[in-house]
């Protein structure tokens, strides 16, 4: 059993989401033309949570889309193939203020793929990035506009975000990987 420490409890996650939701609305001066785009799978869950929070204090329903980035990966010939699933945008993204949402920001390669995937669907006015955990170790010039928690990690660790909808409980844990499997 690998060693693990809790980074965020269910309450911490709830507070972080509420704060990020406020920041998103503040930065975009309201919810007009706002679109939340979750990166599958847990980014989509997080996007729905943020949309719920916004509905709670703004009374506005912000559309939530989901993005599958697997067809845009840069490592398709060096690792086992991921299952490709449909992307789904409830509105035309042309001219929208799109906020990409993912659970963990790490090397930045997922976000690079997500930008390509998004722009193939149309031309948003702006694209911003919100993540629940930023764990560092960027390999590309990418940064988040909204961060739930910044946490320094080592490459021998893994950040696991769990949501009730997908994993049965809300929590973020830091798992110590065994050296042999560390990337």
């Amino acid at each position: 059993m690998p060693e693990q420490t809790v980074l965020l409890s269910a309450d911490d996650i709830r507070r972080a989401i509420t704060r990020m939701a406020h920041e998103i609305v503040e930065r975009n001066q309201g919810t007009e033309r706002l679109l939340l785009v979750g990166i599958q799978t847990r980014g989509v869950t997080l996007a729905h949570r943020i949309a719920e929070a916004i509905a709670g204090f703004e009374g506005a329903q912000v559309p939530v889309g989901s993005l599958d980035i697997n067809l845009y990966r840069d490592d398709l010939t060096s690792r086992a193939q991921p299952v490709v699933r449909p992307s789904n945008m409830p509105v035309n993204i042309e001219g929208m203020r799109a906020v990409l949402i993912d659970d963990v920001l790490f090397k930045g390669r997922t976000i690079r793929a997500a930008l390509d995937a998004l722009i193939d669907l149309g031309r948003p006015e702006v694209v911003q990035l919100a993540v629940l955990v930023d764990r560092g170790h960027r390999e590309l010039p990418i940064r988040a506009d909204y961060v739930g928690k910044n946490t320094p990690t080592s490459l021998t660790q893994e950040v696991k975000v769990q949501f009730t909808e997908v994993d049965g409980q809300d929590q973020v844990v830091l798992v110590e990987l065994e050296r042999s499997v560390a990337r």
């Binding site: 799978t41 697997n70 398709l76 299952v83 490709v84 193939d120």
Partner: protein
């Protein structure tokens, strides 16, 4: 459609060993088929976009090598490759060195020497794709139809189309009506449907059914176990969830296997009257090209139950999923068929 919990980054290789060739469905596990059908949803979404192209297979070279006439299968592969940004090169036997007497193996070795990543072959001889798979060390092979033996991508698109409308295929009754004996589609469909747990009834004139099935030697051995035969179309279609019609290859009549087209359509044509015996909501399919008025009536072919056009659309999507599966993943390792 699928009940599996979506998990980001789940490598399909966990359940699906890498593969270099797709020759028939008889060596596919249900898990492999399920993974492929699952990914086909993602490919359908790409087809529905304004910009129908993703960069996934940039720099991959796919060659189609067709020794037999085809519209939908060849175009479908070409379109699938192009939507995934692969370079697709089409070679037809007429106008190629085959006319100068070059052997099939030499032609394929030439294409491999040009660094083709994948050759998609159709040939009138059963087993031709297997021969190439044995001789090519670096290039993968997809069988796009070999003689009367197999047509695995047609079967996969049929499975996908059925699953899209019915959810699970377990226990479903699928009647395949027509010239089963000469049909590579029926053969591959059987393997695929067997893997997915459907029950298959093969139906047609006794002269157009596989003799070993008809005379009680099968099933078993060369045939999957949930396949039965029936020469009576009314009985075969009764309570069917899916009725699949096969093209009557008209040259069969001159070979003495059929009394007359008129008698054939009277006894085995899929028409509205006959379809009333099937389950409500029955799905009607046909691999194309159709002889309307012979094996299928025009009103059924273009009626509400018909999925024939959707089969064509799904054919592109399933071939995209297949190209993605064969051409991505760890490269340069020893991978066996």
């Amino acid at each position: 459609m699928s009940t599996r919990a979506p998990v980001k980054d789940t490598p399909i290789a966990a359940v699906v060993a890498p593969r270099r060739h797709v020759l028939d469905l008889d060596d596919f596990t249900p898990e492999e088929i399920i993974s492929l059908l699952e990914m086909t949803d993602g490919m359908r979404e790409v087809m529905d976009r304004d910009i129908k192209k993703v960069p996934t297979l940039r720099g991959k070279v796919v060659m189609t090598l067709f020794y037999e006439a085809s519209t939908r299968t060849r175009v479908s592969f070409e379109q699938a490759g192009k939507m995934l940004s692969a370079d697709v090169i089409n070679i037809s036997a007429s106008g190629s060195s085959a006319e100068k007497g070059e052997s099939l193996i030499d032609t394929a070795l030439t294409l491999q020497a040009m660094h083709a990543d994948l050759i998609i072959i159709r040939h009138s001889h059963s087993g031709a794709p297997y021969l190439l798979a044995q001789h090519l060390e670096r290039t993968g092979i997809i069988n796009a139809g070999d003689g009367r033996h197999a047509h695995p991508t047609q079967a996969l698109l049929d499975l996908y189309t059925m699953q899209r409308h019915m959810g699970s295929l377990k226990g479903a009754k699928v009647a395949i009506v027509g010239d089963v004996l000469h049909s590579r589609v029926a053969r591959s469909d059987m393997w695929g449907l067997a893997a997915m747990g459907a029950n298959v009834v093969l139906c047609g004139p006794p002269t157009l059914l596989p003799p070993e099935m008809l005379h009680g030697d099968g099933p078993g051995g060369r045939w999957p176990s949930n396949v039965t035969v029936d020469t009576n179309a009314d009985r075969a279609i009764t309570d069917a969830d899916v009725v699949m019609t096969l093209r009557l290859q008209q040259e069969r009549q001159s070979s003495g296997l059929l009394p007359s087209l008129r008698e054939y359509s009277k006894r085995w044509q899929v028409n509205e009257e006959r379809l009333k015996r099937a389950k409500p909501g029955v799905l009607v399919m046909h691999p194309g090209p159709m002889n309307e008025g012979v094996e299928i009536s025009t009103s059924v072919a273009h009626g509400a139950a018909s999925l024939i056009e959707e089969q064509v659309t799904n054919g592109v999507a399933i071939r995209m999923a297949l190209l993605y599966w064969l051409l991505t993943g760890p490269q340069g390792e020893a991978v066996t068929a």
